[in-house]
């Protein structure tokens, strides 16, 4: 039982990492008033760029950096459509997802050609602050990116609630007219928020290709971006709840795989449905009091 729980907690942290990064990214853009449905494609772009650059340069950190930069560009492109041109945010976001997926697959084919076995690279090593200590050792033997993702949660909170940039960002997401009247450059803040958000999303994707797998395959994100969209509502747009939401979903996902491996004689479909059932339940409970940023989905134009 102890071994089962230790394994479960360690797995939960791994599964939650890309969700934490992706949802924090979405938090930035939604708090500024932009729903970024480009998240799935931006994560995919991050996974691809990270892998390709790490493969070509031999440096995982360069790969991660390139992924973040590519994600920021994807965020800025989203800004061009939704901030400057005021195009419908749903359509722009889905367009970004399709475009980024297409570009990544195209460039993958250009760089790596057609292969029957995908190329692979050594991954980020795990760090083990507690060494061989029982319980704590295996639980905290994690990728550095997992620690970075968790450390980002209070950092994002501080940025949003304790800095003037955060105040302006929230103001822009709640009432852009008032923010503009107070001298805040709504357009610039939204662009910055989308760029930061895109970078975080891409880092979430790069975690999968650079840390967890060491390879890039075309289904690598597998809908995690859409899970982040649900998690942001569950989290009520509050950073600390992003962490709990991601851990809850990650925990139940890890649990169902581990229950299957113990050979529990229940239909496996039941286990597979578990994470989604819990998400829906949590959404129903948390969603009642959810308060989205007031200006979400509304393009801003100066009169």
């Amino acid at each position: 039982m102890e071994a089962f729980l230790v394994g479960l907690i360690a797995a939960t942290l791994r599964v939650a990492t890309p969700l934490i990064l992706g949802t924090l990214g979405e938090l930035f853009s939604e708090r500024s008033g932009i729903l970024n449905l480009g998240i799935e494609g931006t994560m995919f772009l991050g996974a691809f760029t990270g892998f390709a650059v790490a493969y070509l340069t031999g440096s995982l950190w360069l790969g991660l950096l390139a992924a973040v930069l590519a994600g920021m560009l994807a965020g800025l492109l989203m800004g061009l459509f939704t901030v400057t041109l005021g195009v419908n945010q749903h359509v722009s976001g889905l367009g970004i997802t399709l475009l980024m997926t297409g570009i990544s697959l195209f460039l993958y084919r250009v760089i790596f050609g057609e292969r029957s076995v995908q190329p692979s690279i050594p991954t980020f090593p795990k760090v083990s602050p507690f060494g061989d200590t029982p319980v704590l050792g295996p639980i905290f033997e994690q990728y550095l990116l997992t620690y970075i993702a968790i450390a980002l949660v209070p950092l994002v909170w501080w940025l949003l609630y304790r800095t003037s940039f955060g105040l302006r960002l929230r103001a822009v997401g709640e009432n852009p007219e008032a923010a503009d009247a107070a001298g805040v450059n709504v357009f610039r803040i939204r662009y910055i928020a989308l760029a930061i958000g895109g970078g975080l999303m891409a880092a979430g994707g790069a975690f999968l290709s650079l840390a967890q797998l060491g390879s890039f395959i075309f289904g690598i994100i597998a809908g995690r971006g859409w899970v982040c969209i649900a998690l942001i509502i569950f989290a009520n747009w509050i950073p600390s709840r992003v962490l709990w939401g991601a851990l809850l979903f990650g925990g139940v996902s890890a649990l169902q795989l581990r229950l299957q491996a113990t050979g529990a004689q229940l239909p496996y479909e039941l286990f597979l449905a578990l994470p989604y059932l819990v998400t829906i339940l949590a959404l129903v409970l948390a969603g009642r009091s959810a308060a989205a940023p007031a200006a979400l989905l509304k393009p801003y134009r100066r009169e």
């Binding site: 390879s215 395959i217 289904g219």
Partner: protein, 340 residues
């Protein structure tokens, strides 16, 4: 305001156009316009990086390189209605002699189009039967090498527990898994085989987590029906078996072997039948099995020295018997239990 709206529209149009360009299935340019070679078209629902379609594509590329056919293809057609449109366009405009492809998820569309173009040979991967006059079917009947991999796994495990991670419990996955389990039991009757389904064809991170869960439950040899499992074995330094193609390069010291599917015998048979003018609709199953070279056990590479010689001899003997038709691996397409 008006100008702004015009610019928005313009940018949107450009954006959508570039999007379509990026997503549009790419066709390879035709080689020589006029020749007596058969014209073959490939129609794939997924990108050709997908291993199943990748095997078909690889065999057709090989036939083209050997100068036997002219070959063009369209990939990433998907499952939302484009298959029928693309097949009709190809049949009407390109008039190929043969269309290869996969019909999974598009069974009805493929069969409808095939019926309307009886002069074209439709040869599709399918879980269903052939249809007169011109639709032949094939599938990855690699349960025989899967059985041999199971034997190796059963002999290599120290803990007596083996893990299998599969996509969905569909017949194609079930028969490989069941053959693998039976092979393991032949060598090691007390072996325990854990089977996990991740309910996705592509979620390598989830497949890796499933494999790590099996390792925590005691498994020390894995069968990677899906991508992601080899990465778990690599992390823990455990023996692992690939699937569909020789995946040894992913972990040269640990990937012992893989059941390999080879579509070349099927492709060559169909070409010869069409050329001779005697093509008929049929189930091409035999051409994807060991006896005709359509399925095989991948080479052991660097792992050969780590396999106990008695085990190796036993596996080689079975392999020979399968080749000669003296040993039959039963096809069991029932969903395997979580623990076997």
């Amino acid at each position: 305001m008006k100008f702004n709206r015009f610019v928005s529209l313009l940018v949107l149009v450009l954006f959508v156009a570039s999007m379509l360009a990026a997503c549009a299935p790419a066709a390879t340019p035709t080689a020589a316009p006029k020749s007596d070679k058969l014209k073959v078209f490939g129609a794939f629902a997924t990108p050709i990086e997908e291993p199943w379609d990748g095997v078909i594509h690889a065999a057709l590329i090989k036939a083209r390189e050997e100068g036997k056919i002219e070959y063009e293809y369209t990939e990433n057609i998907g499952y939302s209605g484009d298959m029928e449109r693309i097949l009709r366009e190809v049949a009407e405009q390109k008039k190929p002699d043969i269309i290869f492809g996969d019909a999974f998820g598009n069974e009805e569309a493929v069969r409808r189009v095939a019926k309307d173009f009886p002069q074209i040979a439709f040869v599709f991967g399918s879980g269903l039967g052939p249809s007169d006059p011109n639709l032949s079917v094939f599938d990855n009947w690699i349960h025989e090498p899967a059985y041999l991999c199971g034997m190796l796994a059963g002999g290599l495990t120290k803990t007596g527990i083996i893990g299998v991670v599969g996509g969905y419990p569909v017949p194609e996955v079930n028969r490989l898994t069941n053959a693998f389990i039976r092979g393991a039991k032949e060598v090691n009757p007390n072996v325990k085989v854990l089977v996990t389904f991740i309910n996705s064809w592509f979620d390598p991170a989830a497949a890796k987590e499933a494999a790590l869960a099996q390792i925590d439950a005691g498994a020390d040899v894995l069968y990677a029906e899906r991508f992601g499992v080899i990465e778990a074995a690599k992390e823990k330094g455990l023996f692992v078996f690939g699937n569909m193609s020789d995946q040894n390069s992913l972990a040269p010291d640990l990937v012992v072997s893989s059941p390999v599917w080879n579509m070349t015998p099927t492709v060559e048979y169909v070409i010869s039948q069409v050329k001779a003018g005697v093509y008929t609709a049929q189930d091409l199953k035999d051409f994807s099995m060991v006896a005709k070279g359509g399925a095989s056990l991948a080479p052991f590479h660097a792992t050969e020295s780590k396999i106990p010689p008695e085990l190796l001899a036993k596996v080689r003997e079975r392999e020979q018997q399968i080749k000669e038709g003296l040993f039959r691996v039963d096809i069991d397409e029932n969903q395997p239990q979580p623990v076997n």
